[in-house]
Amino acid sequence: MQTQAYRSDGELVELAKAGDLSAFETLVTRYENRIWSLAKQLVQHDEDAADVVQDAFLTALEHLHELRDGERFGAWLKQIAARLAYRVLEKRRRMPIQSLETLLGEGTEEDDPIPHPELVADWRDSPETLLQRSETMRIIEQVLSELPEKYRAVFWLRDVEQLSTRETAEALGISEANVKVRLLRARLMLREKLTRIFGADAPQLLAAE
């Protein structure tokens, strides 16, 4: 399998289409952690996330011949995984215990007021500098996990996985307008929380590892 590792996604897809299992397994190895991360962010549960990852790769295997441009394998796979993760969330929503927030999650929210930024302060450091510190990863992961599910899902697909607005809307089964509104709210919430930690006037929380 190692010998395939240097090949591009497009080459591997073509080989896999021709029946080369090791080429497909190389793609799996290349993307499994990324798809796991996506699934984990969306469903927030290990077993469910593992099922999503497995179903995503099996779906990709079944439909590989439909993928014309093999270089798009990553984006295509992310969309498949996001759709499967969303199905898990929908199933959970139908369960008897559900919060009002989740119930309201499906509505149109374009006209809801956008929360105003409360803490407005420059950050002490640039993102590049912050990313050189190991605790930054822990902080951004923690802060993201505090977002409501519907905002976290959109933010992850758009800003981390870099899917387009349309791809995100299709995967989550919501309108493009809702993607934009949720993304804006997610970014505002994260900005607020991170400014409390990284802002120039914020207490030095970073020092307390």
């Binding site: 029946g19 080369d20 299992l21 090791s22 497909f24 397994e25 799996v28 499994e32 952690n33 990324r34 796991w36 991360s37 984990k40 290990d46 593992a50 990852v53 497995q54 790769f57 099996l58 295997l61 079944e62 956008i114 105003h116 930024p117 407005v120 302060a121 420059d122 950050w123 640039s126 993102p127 590049e128 912050l130 990313l131 930054t136 990863m137 951004i140 992961e141 993201l144 933010f155 800003d159 981390v160 870099q162 934009k180 993304l183 804006l184 970014r187 505002l188 994260l190 900005r191 991170l194 400014t195 990284f198 802002g199």
Partner: protein
């Protein structure tokens, strides 16, 4: 343009999906509003942290093994014995 209106189109502005006329209004407001400048700047930094931070978690080994096993099994069902 007021801060409130600016907030509504902030996402489009940051993603470069705003129409040129709105963009000009947006930037004219920003030039006179340090508060909005900071909001835009810190929001860009927020996005950059997540985009460049490459938050990738490692799939636990038991799930990974199960995944590869399931794939090999499905492959065999679909294509017969492995031909690698």
């Amino acid at each position: 343009m007021k801060c409130e209106q600016l907030l509504r189109i902030l996402g489009d502005y940051i993603d470069g999906e705003i129409d040129p006329e709105m963009c000009e209004l947006f930037e004219r407001h920003m030039a006179q509003c340090p508060r909005c400048q900071v909001v835009v700047d810190t929001m860009r930094k927020t996005i950059a942290l997540y985009r460049d931070g490459e938050l990738v978690f490692e799939m636990p080994v038991q799930f990974r093994e199960r995944l590869h096993q399931a794939i090999r099994q499905r492959w065999q069902e679909k294509f017969g014995s492995s031909n690698t």
